[in-house]
Symmetry: C2
Subunit: 207 residues, 2 copies
DNA sequence: TTAAAATATGACCCACCAGTCACCAGTTGA
DNA sequence: TCAACTGGTGACTGGTGGGTCATATTTTAA
């Protein structure tokens, strides 16, 4: 084995441990929230000692923030990739609803972490809270820009794109965490319903 | 002063202190969540000693649960009173959207407490968590029953009343906690938008 | 084979917090 | 005026949890 392969195996192992820890932390945070979770439990679940966690993350907050950052980034990438082939605004919105619901159904723990710490303003330190809020609002901004374009094209009955973005986000989020959301037809029914209500509710009839 | 007035003054004072404590607790819990809040801070905000709180509530959990219970009960009463004069299902739904948004805009702390502890399943003890969930799902059941009736009357394009109830709830919740939601026209615009999208999106055109 | 470097580990430290209780101020009733 | 009582109080306690560090273990390099 050459030196480079050696190094890369070490790198891989380090990465793997990091992932193990993140995975365990995701489960615990999703169940108990930030304040309710303990590093002891995360270490237990990850099957590492507590000290090990501090070889990979400098604090509980950094561990949490990493989860949020990587979760949102991964969601964003998925969305961008999915929307790339779409031409019209309506196509894009439909695709967004599909991909967002699919993603969050598949990553419910990530969803819980991202969504409920947003609603709990002051349990994290200021700077971190700000970054979190910032990233989140950029996500909202993405939808509202999409809608804004549709408004300019005269496709929408309602023209407050910010408000529409929020409404759509609320509709999507309402469908996660339902019982039995793992079944495939359950899921596609949810997708169809949200699409149908939002588009029927917002688009001009004569369009 | 007669003995009864004496007693009643004492009673009133006791009630007043209870309210003071609940009010302070509501603010703190709304800001920091259940796990993130401390009784010391609640006592400080209420301007009482920590020991005093235990003369009125047996534990942190009971204090929190009282807030949730009384908050939901008060909301329920407001809704029932508002919907009483309405005849048709559509009238009732419109009224519900109005009154729910108005109520939560006016009681944002209550809203935060009720909504985000629902999304954080395991930070409270089992029995309490169950009661909370139960009460919450009865609220959802109320809307879904309303919609169910509309479905039977053939007024709805979409017939899964449970799902519609969730969507509506998501739309309503998405509008709370926006910036500038204290202004009156902001608020009525939110109400009109939600009404408009939901009804346009769900009702049959020929109805 | 062994010295050195890297890394995992959990006992330990300290700050913090829910809950308690001995004390005290104010009120009542005689 | 005083004794009994009621009710607020915050210092105290026991337990807990984030974060540390000396030690143990494994890996690397010679």
């Amino acid at each position: 084995m050459s030196a480079t392969t050696e190094l890369s195996r070490k790198e891989r192992e380090r990465l793997r441990r990091r992932e193990d820890i993140l995975e365990a932390a995701k489960k615990v945070f999703a169940e108990k929230g930030f304040s309710g979770s303990t590093l002891d439990e995360i270490a237990l679940r990850a099957e590492y000692g507590k000290g090990t966690i501090y070889n990979y993350f400098s604090s509980k907050e950094e561990l949490f923030l990493t989860l949020v950052r990587e979760g949102l980034q991964s969601f964003k990438n998925t969305v961008n990739q999915a929307l790339a082939p779409c031409e019209s605004v309506v196509d894009k919105l439909e695709k967004y609803i599909e991909v967002a619901l699919d993603y969050f159904y598949d990553h419910q723990n990530a969803f819980k972490i991202i969504s409920f710490e947003i609603h709990q303003p002051n349990s994290l330190s200021g700077v971190i809270q700000d970054e979190l809020r910032e990233t989140y609002s950029r996500e909202l901004y993405f939808i509202s820009q999409l809608i804004e374009q549709g408004v300019r094209e005269g496709r929408f009955r309602i023209t407050d794109s910010q408000r529409l973005a929020r409404v759509l986000q609320g509709m999507i989020h309402s469908q996660i965490c339902q019982s039995g959301c793992t079944q495939h037809d359950e899921r596609s029914e949810a997708i169809e319903t949200v699409k149908s209500i939002f588009l029927h509710g917002c688009l001009n009839r004569d369009a």
